[in-house]
């Protein structure tokens, strides 16, 4: 089983929503479409589902051209950011609705709905109506509807975006389990890098209607092919600085901090990307680099502390474990883990990891 987009392109009027895209998704995989709002995630999903037709290009499913085939014939299910359920059906009837239409026997329906409801912790509320449920439960119902019918393709369009923090965390942890041992392709759109990392599988980074990079989630994260891909896959945003390489020494253009590099590239100017969690208030790793900073903002998020600081004329973001408060204007030393630096050339393509 596989889903393949061949030279797919989508234009609306003069606007290009999806630039020429080739993508092959394999069976039994979770594929994450990672990108900011308006990156084209939803459009791409609708094209995959058959809810929308590409302007040009083809969609192949199991070596069959399904371009333009109606969504009803495609055995697809989809979960949306909004909690979409039939408003005056009970939870049971909502979950059973895809089965009823395809004419599954009532005994089997009962059994399958029961099983999915248990998986999603909805067993106690099968007789309630959606508007009597919390947002989290409404979205669980929508997920159950998508899972009950054994689709070949399950599309989830930012399913957790409208939930509040607690419920989002809770459901997020259950998600990988839901898709285990399913004979299907899962496509999951999200704006949050942490969701992609949690779900694993493969990730495609998207920006402005283009797929920048597609590969195993960890590979995409560790070896971004370009600055854009690295930025899409980094939250808080990656620190970018211009550097100069001379021999085996590198230095920032804007200050005189130097470090040794194993990079086997010719001398010249490059850009370095440093993820915030690789700049910490404590030394981490074998090759650390000290940098002086003046605190701009300091904020605490969960058990981590974010410190925005300036060095030279650049603003930096650092993310350290532990909770501590810094005052605005404080001078402090921070440590950068040079092993984790990502180098890009002048065209913002990946050079190599240091």
């Amino acid at each position: 089983m596989s889903l393949e987009l061949k030279n797919v392109e989508k234009k609306v009027g003069l606007d290009t929503h999806i630039y020429r895209t080739n993508l092959k998704l394999q069976k039994n995989t979770i594929n994450i479409l990672l990108g900011s709002t308006l990156a084209g995630k939803t459009t791409l999903m609708q094209i995959m589902a058959g809810l929308d037709k590409p302007t040009s290009g083809e969609i192949w499913f199991n070596n069959e051209n399904v371009t333009g085939m109606k969504v009803q014939k495609r055995n697809v299910s989809m979960v949306y950011q909004q909690f979409i359920n039939y408003p005056n059906f009970t939870v049971y009837d909502n979950i059973a609705s895809p089965l009823k239409i395809t004419g599954v026997s009532s005994d089997e329906t009962k059994q399958r709905v029961g099983k999915v409801a248990e998986l999603l912790k909805l067993s106690g509320m099968l007789n309630k109506k959606p508007n009597e449920l919390s947002g989290g439960q409404q979205q669980r119902t929508a997920l159950a509807r998508a899972l009950v019918k054994d689709s070949d393709l399950i599309l989830l369009d930012e399913p957790l975006a409208n939930l509040d923090f607690k419920l989002r965390e809770e459901l997020r942890e259950e998600l990988p389990k839901l898709f285990e041992n399913r004979d299907c392709i899962v496509v999951y759109a999200t704006t949050e890098p942490s969701e992609a990392l949690l779900l694993g599988g493969n990730t495609a980074t998207l920006q402005e209607g283009k797929i920048i990079q597609y590969g195993k989630t960890l590979d995409t994260y560790n070896k971004p092919n370009s600055l854009v891909s690295a930025q899409v896959f980094s939250d808080p945003p990656m620190n970018i600085a211009k550097i100069k390489k001379l021999g085996d020494m590198c230095s920032f253009l804007q200050n005189d901090i130097q470090w040794k590099t194993k990079l086997n590239i010719k001398d010249g100017e490059y850009k370095v990307g440093i993820r915030p969690h690789n700049i910490t208030t404590y030394k981490e790793g074998n090759n650390t680099l000290e940098i002086k900073g003046k605190v701009l903002i300091s904020e605490i998020s969960g058990s981590e502390s974010l410190i925005h600081f300036t060095n030279g004329n650049l603003n930096w973001v650092s993310l350290s474990n532990g909770v501590f408060q810094k005052n605005v204007g404080d001078e402090m030393n921070l440590y950068m883990n040079t092993d984790e630096f990502v180098y890009f050339d002048q065209n913002e393509r990946l050079v190599s990891n240091g």
């Binding site: 609708q46 589902a49 809810l51 969504v71 009803q72 697809v76 299910s77 989809m78 949306y80 950011q81 909004q82 979409i84 039939y86 408003p87 005056n88 059906f89 609705s97 895809p98 239409i101 395809t102 109506k129 508007n131 009597e132």
Partner: protein
Amino acid sequence: MNKTVNQKAWFFVIPVFVLVAFNAIIPLMTVVNYAFQETFGNNVFMWEGTRWFKQIMLSERFHASLGRQFLFTFIILFIQIPLGIAIALTMPKEGVGVPVCLVLMSMPLLIPWNVVGAMWNIFALPDIGFLGHSLNALGFDYNFTQQIGDAWFTTILMDVWHWTSLVVLLSYAGLRSIQPAYYQAAEIDGASRWAIFTKIELPKMKKVLTIAILLRFMDSFMIYTEPFVLTGGGPGNATAFLSIDLVKMALGQFDLGPAAAMSLIYFFIVLLVCWVFYTLMMRNEEKS
């Protein structure tokens, strides 16, 4: 900081009190006054207790006009609500068609009641009116000034023409507020057009439809100007709805006591029906 005490703000509120008193409370109390007393002019009143209420409740004339009123309201709701929804469903969802349709739909709503009555009166006249003449030319024996059925037909047609737009506009607003994802989800499920209508659109329109039905019920139950201008309540008393009958009694016969009692009963019927209807429609909503 000390709070300053300043009662001058009341001066801003007083005009509202005065206005409401003059346009609502005082007239209403006058009616209440008349409903319990007999008067022979010169501001001389005699206490009558509930006599006028008993008289009205037992009067066949009141029963007949109340019956006509319910029948009329029921018929126009039965036509306007489904028709309004149907038109709203066929209206364009985007493009230049939207403002064009909305403006066209709003037109009847902007015409004053008495003009509507006069328009339809002339339109339906059997000898010179376009509708009346055409119907007769087609072989129908149509004369709304003389035949009861024709009078009802014309009154209902006029009201449908005048007020269906309101239901259309409310339904259209309700439909437009349904997120496209609902339609996509239904499409993925392979739901039929009818299923989409009954399982998604209708439940999602429930609130605006409740308002549409309430507004149309109240308006049609209190209808006066249009039938007054069109048929004058005739032929005979055939289209004398409650308010027409009320005005006849109050200003035609000058039976102020019974007319005042009838006004209050009329008012309570409208209030009661609206309350019952609203409670029924919203019963499920409040549970959640």
